[in-house]
C-alpha cells in the first residue's frame, strides 16, 4: 500500500522538455484575477496552441473555513454564514439550514411561512438567473447584456430589500420562520415586476438566444452526457441539461412546491446551449410559481419560535438538502446536543458542478472554456466555502 502525495509544483513541472522540434505544450495560468473565472477561481491550462490539453482547477483563494467557524457558533449564527457562500441564492441557503434544524427538531411551521419562503426562494432564483444571463453575455464578449441583467436584478433587489432589509446577504429565513413579515406593498410591487420581466425575457431571447454567434459558440460545446453528469455529481441546471429531471422542488417538494404548477425543464444533449436555455426557461417557471402564490398568501404568524430561543439539536446526524439556483445544497450536521454544532458541513452545488470541466473542456479552445465556465454558473465563494 503506497499513497503518493503530490504537490502542485510537481504537476506544473511535468512537461516534456526533451522535445525540441514541432509544437510544444505549455502551461498557462488563468486566474485568480481573471474576468471570466467569476471571482478567484484559478485554472492552470496545458495548451497546445490554443487547444486545451489538460485543465487543472486550483481552488482555495477564498477558502475561509466556514465549516470550522460553524463549529463554534450557534445554529442561528451559522445561518448568516451561509449567505456569504452562494450569495446569489442566499435566501435559499438560509432555508437549507433552517430546514435541517426544523427537521431535526420536528418543528412545525405554518402555511404562511412556507409560502413566503417559497416566494422568496423563487425571487432569488430569478435574481440569480438574470444576473447569470448578464454575466454570460459578458463572457461571450457582449457588454450590453451585463447591464440589462443587472438592471432587471436591481428592481428585484429593491423589492427584496424592502422586506428583508438587505440587498445581497439577507439572512432572512430563520429556523422557525422568516425574520420579518412581508411589507404591505410587497405583493403589488412583485406583481408589477412580473409584468415587467415577462417581456424582458423575450428581449433577452432576441438579444442573445437568437444571435447566430451565440448559437455557434454554445451548440455542441462542452457536452456532458447524462452518465457523466451523474458520475461527476452535477446537480441543478447542469444535470437537468443532460436530460435528468432531478429537481428537489418536485422530487422532495419542500415548502409549498407541491401546491403550485410548474414544470422541470430538461435538456437533451447537455451542451452549453442546453444549460443556457434551461436557465432562461427556469426564469419563466419561477415567474409562474410566484404568480400562483403571491395572490393568496395565507394569514398567520411569520415566526413560530422566538428569535431569541436557543436551539439545541438532538444527538446524531441531521441532514437535509434543498434546490438552490445552482443545484442541490445539502446541510449535514453532526450534533452532540450542544448549542453549537459538533460538525457542520455544506454540500455545495458549485463545488460538485465545477469538476465536470476537467472532462468537458479538454480538446476545446480557450474561448470554449470561458463559455463552459459561464454556463456552469459557478460561484467561487461557494466552491471554496
Amino acid at each position: 500500500m503506497t499513497i503518493h502525495l503530490k504537490t502542485l509544483n510537481e504537476i506544473l513541472h511535468n512537461l516534456d522538455e526533451k522535445k525540441h522540434w514541432g509544437t510544444k505544450e505549455y502551461f498557462i495560468n488563468m486566474g485568480p484575477q481573471h474576468p471570466s473565472t467569476h471571482g478567484v477561481l484559478r485554472f492552470v491550462l496545458k495548451l497546445e496552441g490554443e487547444i486545451i490539453k489538460e485543465i487543472i482547477p486550483i481552488l482555495g483563494y477564498i477558502h475561509r473555513g466556514i465549516e470550522k467557524i460553524g463549529e463554534s457558533v450557534s445554529y442561528r449564527n451559522f445561518v448568516h454564514l451561509t449567505d456569504r457562500c452562494d450569495y446569489f441564492s442566499s435566501i435559499i441557503n438560509n432555508w437549507a439550514v433552517s430546514r435541517t434544524i426544523e427537521q431535526a427538531l420536528n418543528m412545525e411551521t405554518n402555511d404562511r411561512i412556507e409560502t413566503i419562503r417559497t416566494i422568496f426562494a423563487e425571487i432569488q432564483r430569478i435574481q440569480s438567473h438574470t444576473m447569470w444571463w448578464g454575466v454570460f453575455g459578458m463572457d461571450l464578449g457582449a457588454f450590453t447584456p451585463f447591464f440589462y441583467g443587472f438592471r432587471d436584478r436591481e428592481f428585484l433587489t429593491s423589492i427584496v430589500e424592502e422586506t428583508c432589509g438587505s440587498r445581497l446577504t439577507m439572512n432572512y429565513i430563520q429556523p422557525g420562520g422568516v425574520l420579518y413579515d412581508i411589507k404591505s406593498n410587497f405583493i403589488k410591487r412583485i406583481k408589477q415586476y412580473i409584468q415587467y420581466l415577462r417581456p424582458r425575457i423575450e428581449e433577452y431571447e432576441k438579444l442573445i438566444s437568437d444571435n447566430v454567434i451565440v448559437q455557434k459558440r454554445t451548440e455542441n460545446i462542452g457536452i456532458l452526457p447524462s452518465e457523466k453528469a451523474l458520475s461527476f455529481g452535477s446537480t441543478g441546471p447542469v444535470l437537468r441539461a443532460s436530460g435528468i429531471p432531478l429537481d428537489l422542488r418536485k422530487n422532495d417538494s419542500y415548502g409549498v412546491y407541491d401546491k403550485v404548477k410548474f414544470s422541470v425543464v430538461i435538456g437533451t444533449k447537455g451542451d452549453s446551449w442546453d444549460r443556457y436555455w434551461i436557465r432562461i426557461e427556469e426564469m419563466r417557471q419561477s415567474l409562474n410559481i410566484i404568480e400562483q402564490l403571491v395572490d393568496n398568501i395565507p394569514a398567520g404568524k411569520h415566526m413560530v419560535t422566538k428569535y431569541t430561543t436557543k436551539i439545541k439539536l438532538p444527538v446524531g446526524y441531521h441532514h437535509s438538502s434543498i434546490e438552490t439556483a445552482r443545484g442541490i445544497l445539502g446541510i449535514f450536521v453532526a450534533s452532540d446536543g450542544m448549542e453549537n454544532p459538533y460538525r457542520i458541513h455544506m454540500r455545495s452545488p458549485n463545488y460538485n458542478n465545477l469538476w465536470s470541466i476537467t472532462d468537458m473542456a479538454v480538446g476545446l479552445k480557450i474561448s470554449d472554456l470561458v463559455t463552459i465556465v459561464s454556463t456552469l454558473d459557478l460561484i467561487i465563494p461557494d466552491v471554496d466555502r
Binding site: 483563494y61 473555513g65 443587472f150 445581497l168
Partner: protein, 199 residues
C-alpha cells in the same frame, strides 16, 4: 482631512501649482478600477460599476481594466485569505503609480464575520497593502462605494505632487458624516480583540 489651501499656496511657483492642480484634477476624475473581486462585495461593486441604476461611469470610473498595469484604483472587494494574499500583493505591486486602494466591506477592513476561528482569513487587508479609503458595510451598498470614491477624489485633489512626493494621506473610513481616521478604529479594534468581550 487637511485643507486644500494650506498645502498649495506655500512658496510654490504659480505654474507648478497650476500644473499640480490640473494633474490632480485629471487623476481624480479618471480612476480606472481593476477587476478584482473575491466574494459578495464584488457583486455590489459590479452593481456600482456595471448597473444602469448606479452607473459609476458618471464619475469617469467605469473603464474597468483587467491588466493591473493600466488600472489606477484597486477596489478590494471581498474576503482576503492567506492563499490570496500573495496574488493580491503582486497585483498591487504590478499597478503603476499613482495607485490607490479602496477596501470595501467589513471582511477587507477587519475580517468581518470570519474574524474568529477561521484559519485562513486575513483580518484586515491593510496588513498586506496600504489602503486609502475604507468603505464599511457587509456588503456596502453601491452608494457607499460611491461615497468612498468621492472621498478618494477629494484626497487626490489635495495631493501635492512636487513638494512632498512621498506624502501619503491618512487613510479614511468613508462613513458619515466626515471620514473617520482609521487609526482610531484600529486602536478601538485592538482593545476589543484584547478584551474578548465582543460576541
Amino acid at each position: 482631512m487637511e485643507n486644500l489651501n494650506s498645502l498649495s499656496t506655500n512658496n510654490q511657483a504659480v505654474i507648478l501649482t497650476n500644473l499640480e492642480k490640473i494633474l490632480n484634477w485629471a487623476r481624480a476624475n479618471s480612476l480606472w478600477p481593476l477587476t478584482f473581486g473575491t466574494s459578495c462585495c464584488a457583486i455590489e461593486m459590479m452593481m456600482a460599476t456595471g448597473s444602469a441604476h448606479y452607473d459609476l461611469s458618471r464619475f469617469g470610473a467605469e473603464v474597468v481594466r483587467v491588466s493591473p498595469r493600466q488600472a489606477d484604483v484597486l477596489i478590494v472587494a471581498g474576503t482576503i485569505v492567506k492563499r490570496m494574499a500573495k496574488p493580491l500583493k503582486m497585483l498591487f505591486n504590478q499597478m503603476m503609480d499613482p495607485k490607490y486602494v479602496i477596501a470595501t466591506g467589513s471582511c477587507t477592513i477587519s475580517g468581518g464575520p470570519f474574524i474568529y476561528n477561521s484559519y485562513t482569513t486575513i483580518r484586515g487587508v491593510d496588513k498586506l497593502i496600504p489602503v486609502d479609503v475604507y468603505v464599511p458595510g457587509c456588503p456596502p451598498r453601491p452608494e457607499a462605494l460611491f461615497w468612498g470614491i468621492l472621498v478618494l477624489q477629494k484626497m487626490i485633489l489635495q495631493n501635492s505632487l512636487f513638494k512632498n512626493k512621498k506624502k501619503r494621506y491618512r487613510p479614511v473610513l468613508a462613513a458619515l458624516p466626515e471620514g473617520i481616521c482609521i487609526e482610531e478604529i484600529h486602536s478601538e479594534m485592538k482593545n476589543i480583540l484584547k478584551s474578548k468581550k465582543y460576541l
